[in-house]
Symmetry: C2
Subunit: 217 residues, 2 copies
DNA sequence: GTAGATTTCTGCAATAGATGCAAAAATGCA
DNA sequence: TGCATTTTTGCATCTATTGCAGAAATCTAC
């Protein structure tokens, strides 16, 4: 509250906090990668970061959260980008861009431990669930954005649109990661999914075919 | 209630197990409703069901799971229905019916504690995450069903379709519950969402309008 | 009905995540 | 430097969860 004269002066206290937070996150990810998630205790992480175990919890509310430390930072960036209005773009375009942004961010290999995070999230049900939760938050942001972009849209339309977009993209992303798709193939798959999101399941020829004959062709 | 000792004789052991499982679930839900989730310990539940605390874990892998005991049973039924082929129906119809089935099951007020379960799931992040997980499993079942119904469909198409359908429906359901929609309104909303799933976001007029009337409110 | 095999229940101990609290240490400021 | 504020820490505690081994209940064959 005090001095705001020189805009950016982190101050020792603040700088130290960030360093500690980062140290905890880095140590945690490294240990998770080395010994595995379950096999790493809070005590281990704290020790590796040179703080008391108790301190861990003043930086992260739970062991799971530390996995998302970096991811969250990325998502914050995306949220900003999402907020920037792009005039001349149709709302649909904006949503499309937002979703792709978010998901590509999640798929991208970030730092040295980016891969570990994704692997952990896909493997540990608890972490996977946590990730889902984040996605839900994002979904709601997109819904809100839709309302901003076109106040005319109905409540349900906005909710459904956000859910459809995020749900479809998420499914494809997870599928691609699990199947070991390379980035290019993933991108292609995402585009296909996006097309379905925009044109509806009705646009999938196979789905509108009369009835499934027992034979193939 | 009558006993025909022909083919199916549950046997005392089996009957007792079911009774215990049910007692645990019922006691748990009752206590959750009375004192709240966090405020109820495993010991409390076990005591109320007249078994040792240790026994709780031989029936449910975790405290969270007991909330889904009943829900899971319902979902199993739905899974069966989902498996039943309905000849002469278009795959799209089948998916549509499946999703609606699943979700209406979840929205329906089951037993005396049905409301409590839904409230808990919506409130406790942990439980909500757990619910998401179940939904993911269902999503995968739908995807598998799609492959069965039309072997011609592409991998990505199936994944995306399942994700879109479930994602869209889930978003609307949650929204309706949170906003306190009555069953009828919820049903209407679901239908609207379903239409969007089938026809795509492109079918929402407001979304394809040129650009947000810049500045205007 | 009883003995022996099988399954379930229970008590006990231990691990680990999470939280509240108050003293100790670090940092900011006059 | 000395006081105010913030962070860190140690400690106690609670609770979920798991492994283990003996006790109790149920089932099967005789």
């Amino acid at each position: 509250m005090r001095d705001m004269h020189h805009a950016e002066e982190p101050g020792l206290r603040e700088r130290k906090k960030r360093r500690t937070r980062s140290a905890l996150a880095t140590a945690a990810l490294r240990l998770f990668a080395e010994r595995g998630y379950e096999e790493t205790t809070i005590a281990d992480i704290a020790a590796a970061a040179d703080v008391s175990p108790r301190t861990f919890f003043s930086y992260f509310p739970s062991k799971e959260d530390v996995v998302f430390a970096e991811v969250d930072d990325r998502l914050d960036e995306v949220a900003e980008r999402l907020a920037r209005r792009v005039p001349g773009e149709t709302p649909l375009e904006t949503v499309r861009q937002s979703v792709v942004d978010v998901l590509e961010t999640l798929v991208a290999e970030h730092g040295a431990y980016g891969t570990v995070q994704v692997r952990l999230i896909l493997e540990r049900p608890g972490l996977r669930a946590r990730a889902m939760q984040r996605l839900t938050e994002i979904q709601d942001e997109i819904r809100a954005r839709l309302h901003e972009l076109c106040p005319d849209i109905g409540e349900i339309e906005a909710v459904a649109a956000a859910g459809i977009a995020v749900g479809g993209m998420q499914a494809v992303i997870v599928h691609c990661r699990e199947q070991g798709y390379d980035p290019l193939s993933t991108r292609t798959a995402l585009d296909r999914a996006l097309a379905i999101v925009e044109n509806g399941l009705g646009s999938i020829a196979a789905l509108t075919a009369p009835a499934p004959p027992a034979g193939g062709r």
